[in-house]
Each structure stands twice: as C-alpha cells, then as structure tokens.
C-alpha cells in the first residue's frame, strides 16, 4: 500500500542506482521523490525537500554528514530518527546488506514506511545483481581474449590445431585445479618474459 503524499529524498552519487530506485518508487505511486547526487549544499537540499524518508547509499562517506545534521535538530525543520524503529534490527540488517541507509521523520508509523523500505532494499539488491552480472560479463570477455592468445601461442609453437591447443590448456587447468583463463594468463606472461 503506497502513500503518495510521502516525500522521499534519495542521496546517491551513482546515477544508475538512483534512477532504478526512483523509477521503482514512482511506479509504486510515490510522486514526491527527489534525488541529490551532488554533495554541495546537502543541508539546503534537505531543508528544501523537507522529506519524510531519506535514503543514502552506504558507499557514501557523507553518511556521517547526514547523521550530524539530524543530531542538530535545528538544522532540519522536523526531527529525523536514525531508523524506522529503534528496536528493529532486522530492518537495519536487510537495508545494510543491500547497501542502503534509511532515515525517517520521527513519529512516522512503521507500516507507512515498511513498503518504501522494502522497495528500496529490493531495488538496491537488483542494482547489485546488475552490477555483478556486468562484472561477470566483463570478466568472461577478458577470459575469452586471453584464452584466444594462449591458444595462438600453442598453435604456433607446437604446430597443433586450435582444438588440440584448447585441450592442452584445459588439461593443465584440471591438473593444477585452476581456471583455464588463469593457465592461459600464465602462458601468455611466460611467453612475454621469454621473448
């Protein structure tokens, strides 16, 4: 159940992640969502947005800046609590594990915030997954390149076919309990040194 009147502020220097969360919140019917990417005048932006809920990514060192602003209550118009519920470590755990810190205005009922927090957690997780997949794809491409070069070296040096070259690499990898790409990398490095 969404509550479109709630004002939500995202503090995230990662443009992609911020838009993934922003989009999710808008789809869920939250219309008052603002995003801060630039840390200059953070306080001014918070005061202007007068948010009920603030999310900040945990890679952001400026999290400590936010916490102090909430300590000094005269900085913000309404007191902000450090978390949804002072006794709820499960919520903190879910949030921290997904990489997001959440702050809410004091007195906001837990059920009003729960759905937004769940949304933020799932979108942050989706982003991490996306990033992991991207990293994996990059790694695979790198691996493929290095294996191609190693095969080329073997084919040239030993006068064998591509298939046989790959067979040799695979066998060495199995014997040494390493990845084919690692064996290929060793071969490429060794060849460069011997030249």
């Amino acid at each position: 159940m969404s509550d479109p009147a709630l004002r939500i502020l995202l503090v995230d220097q990662n443009v992609t992640r911020a838009s993934i969360l922003e989009e999710g919140l808008r789809e869920a019917g939250y219309t008052h969502v603002s995003v801060v990417r630039d840390m200059q005048n953070l306080l001014r932006r918070i005061v202007d947005a007068d948010p009920d809920v603030i999310f900040i990514d945990l890679e952001n060192p400026n999290r400590d800046v936010l916490e102090q602003m909430f300590q000094v209550s005269r900085c913000v118009q309404r007191p902000i609590a450090m978390f949804v519920d002072h006794s709820d470590t499960d919520m903190i755990r879910a949030a921290v594990e997904s990489g997001v810190g959440a702050y809410v205005v004091d007195g906001l009922r837990k059920e009003r915030v729960k759905s937004i927090l769940d949304m933020a957690v799932s979108r942050f997780n989706a982003f991490s997954q996306l990033r992991d997949e991207l990293e994996r794809a990059k790694q695979e491409l790198e691996d493929r390149k290095i294996v191609e070069r190693a095969k080329g070296i073997l084919m040239k040096e030993r006068g064998i076919t591509e298939e046989a070259a790959y067979g040799l690499l695979r066998k060495a990898a199995m014997n040494e309990n390493r990845r084919v790409a690692e064996v290929a990398q060793s071969l490429v490095t060794a060849t460069r040194l011997l030249k």
């Binding site: 400026n62 002072h86 903190i92």
Partner: protein, 374 residues
C-alpha cells in the same frame, strides 16, 4: 578462528593492521579479516547487526550505542583502547593570518590560540565554520572544549559541521570551512598541501587523551570470551611493536598502502614518531607523546574516559540526564576483561579503573565527584 574487523583509514588503525600482517594474530590462532569502511555510521551499523565481530571505533561511539543515542540501543563494549592522542586542530591560512594579528604564533600554547580565535570571532559578522568527523567523537568534544575555554560558544558563535576525513583538505582549500579537528595524517596532509596551519595538537588540550577503541557487541563478547581475549593479546603485542621507533619506517610503508590508510608514508612516519610540521616551510617539531600506540597504558580502557564522554554528551545536550545512564556508561568500558586477558603478558596494568583527567586550562575531571554529584 576467523575474526572480522572493520576499520577506518586513519593512523590509529595501526595496531589492527600489524596484528593481522605481522603474525601476532596467527600466534593466537586467529585469522583476522580487516574490512575498510567509508563512514563511522557504517562501522556502527555493521557491528550492531553482526557483520563485524569487532571494529576500530570512536570511543564515544561505544557509549552512544550503549545508551541508544542517535540510533538503535545495542550494548557495545570497549575492552581495549587503540592508543592515545593523534588528533590536531588545523585552520585555514586565511584564518591563521587573522589569528596571528591577534597574538597567535606557530607552536604557541592552546590558551594563546583560543584567545586569539576569540578576538577573531568577536570581530566577524559571519560565523566561522569548523569541521569534525562525527557527532560522537573525541574530535568533536576536544574541539568544543578548546573553543569553550576561549569563551567561544561552539553552538552559537561558530558553525560546527561533519566532513569525512578524506574531504577535509579540499573543503579547507575551497573555503567551505575555516578549520577542523581530525586525526593524523589529515592535519599533516593539509599543511603539506599548503592550505592549513596546525594550531593545536589535541594532546596539548588534554595530555594522554583517548581516541579509538576496539569495540564489539556485548553479546559477541559473552559468546566468544576466549577469542576476544586472544584478539586483545594479539593487538596488545602489535601495539608494542608499533611503539618501537625502529619499526616506524616499515609500519608507515605498510599503512601507506591504499587498502589501509592510503596516505604518504613520510607523513605517517612523522606522526608515528610524534613529529608534526605545523605550518608550511618550517621544520617538523618533536612533540611529547603526540601519538602513543602502547606505552603509558595507552591500550587500557579507562572508565574515566567513558564517563568524561558522557559528561560531554550532557554538556552539549546530545542527551538528557537519566539516573540509570551512569551505570550503563561505566559498563561500556571493560578494564576487567582487559586485566583478565593481559595479566599473563603485561606487567604494568593499572589497578584502578578510573583516574583524574586533567586539561590545559587547569580544569580537571574527577569521575568520583562527578558520580556523587549526579
């Protein structure tokens, strides 16, 4: 057994790094996994939810967590301190220029500089802005103590903001702030960059002043008493190693690595030897016990430190007094665990849990009279 420790990239993570890298942990059968963090809030959260078994924490932060100020109330203990001192107050060259017109000179006593600053503050229409690293930190309280000693109200006459250490030098250069209080190497980095002058090493405000501690959840300590004792012995031996001047060059190189502190090795080595370059184009000066990783009972968790932090929390209105708080604060610092773990390897463990803490302006904090007054 594997122990996961969170840390922030600052000079006083040295003993943790050395315990992991120079075999002291392995000797105790521990495998230390050090995880570098980007904010104090992350350190606190990850200790509280159990991602970290223990961490490099700000002393006052353990008290704040135990009292539940600023966040969830989770009993956190400090059974071991990670050295004394290591902080300083640095001001921009512009503010320094104004202070020198009011009687400040390089290396003068904190009282002289506080008076000069007061005169500058009185003349200005716009308040000066000072930065520190976290609301519940020695940096915040030392800076406030010094300002207040110069009759400057830290909440009215100046603006106090939080800026993470790696951004401080840029903020000073850009004129966003006029000064800051932070641990090394960040003061020296500002001087080397030609944007600041160190006015007060905070050990001049409060000799043998506390800084970081080894913090962990009370619940973790109760579940793993043997591991915690082993961890304390490993870090204690590492702290002794860090104290030896002949190891400073090697230690500085180790800490300079990007995965630890990631600052220039020469600056780190200078601070390890209690030497600071106070302003550009001057030779480094030798200070007395500016940073002490181990000697003078620097690893002992004095309960008077915890009580002083609590007094500051009351003084600066971070918390309202409640009668049950004093016992909770006392129970945060655990000299009993320290003694039990280190009795067999350390000869000079203090018999008392508290001592009278003395300050540059003649002020003293007597934990006993504090408790009877409350």
């Amino acid at each position: 057994m594997k122990v996961i420790l969170g840390f922030m990239p600052l000079l006083d993570c040295a003993s943790l790094v050395v315990a992991a890298e120079r075999g002291f942990a392995a000797e105790e059968g521990l495998e230390l996994a050090l995880v570098r963090e980007t904010s104090w809030a992350n350190i606190r959260d990850r200790v509280v939810i159990g991602h970290f078994d223990a961490a490099h924490m700000l002393g006052p932060m353990t008290v704040a967590s135990t009292l539940g100020i600023g966040h969830v109330r989770v009993p956190v203990i400090a059974p071991f301190a990670l050295g004394l001192g290591g902080n300083a107050i640095t001001v921009s060259l512009r503010l320094w220029e104004q202070m020198t017109q009011e009687g400040a000179t390089v290396g003068a006593k904190p009282g002289v500089h506080a008076t000069a600053l007061e005169r500058v503050v009185l003349r200005r229409s716009e308040p000066l802005t000072f930065a520190m690293v976290y609301p519940f930190s020695c940096h915040n309280y030392e800076l406030r103590y010094w300002l207040a000693a110069g009759r400057i109200d830290p909440d009215k006459d100046v603006r106090l903001v939080v800026i993470p250490p790696p951004f401080l030098v840029d903020a000073l250069r850009a004129g966003q702030i006029d000064g800051f209080c932070v641990g090394e190497p960040w003061n020296s980095v500002a001087v080397q960059a030609g944007v600041g002058t160190i006015v007060v090493p905070t050990t001049a405000i409060w000799p043998s002043s506390p800084e970081k501690v080894l913090g962990c959840r009370l619940e973790w300590a109760q579940r793993h008493p043997k591991q915690l004792a082993a961890l304390m012995r490993a870090i204690y031996r590492a702290s002794r190693w860090c104290d030896q001047p002949e190891n400073h060059a090697e230690l500085a190189k180790l800490l300079a690595q990007p995965r630890y502190v990631g600052a220039p090795a020469d600056l780190l080595q200078q601070a390890l030897g209690s030497r600071l370059t106070l302003t550009t184009n001057t030779p480094a000066v030798q200070l007395e016990d500016f940073f002490t990783p181990s000697r003078h009972n620097a690893t002992f968790p004095w309960v008077s430190h915890a009580l002083w932090f609590y007094e500051q929390m009351l003084r600066w209105k971070q918390i309202e007094f409640a009668p049950n708080q004093v016992a909770a604060v006392r129970a945060t610092y655990r000299p009993d665990l320290y003694r039990a773990a280190l009795a067999s390897i350390s000869e000079d463990i203090p018999a008392d849990d508290t001592k009278i803490e003395r300050f540059f302006d003649g002020g003293a904090f007597d934990p006993q009279s504090f408790e009877t007054q409350r």
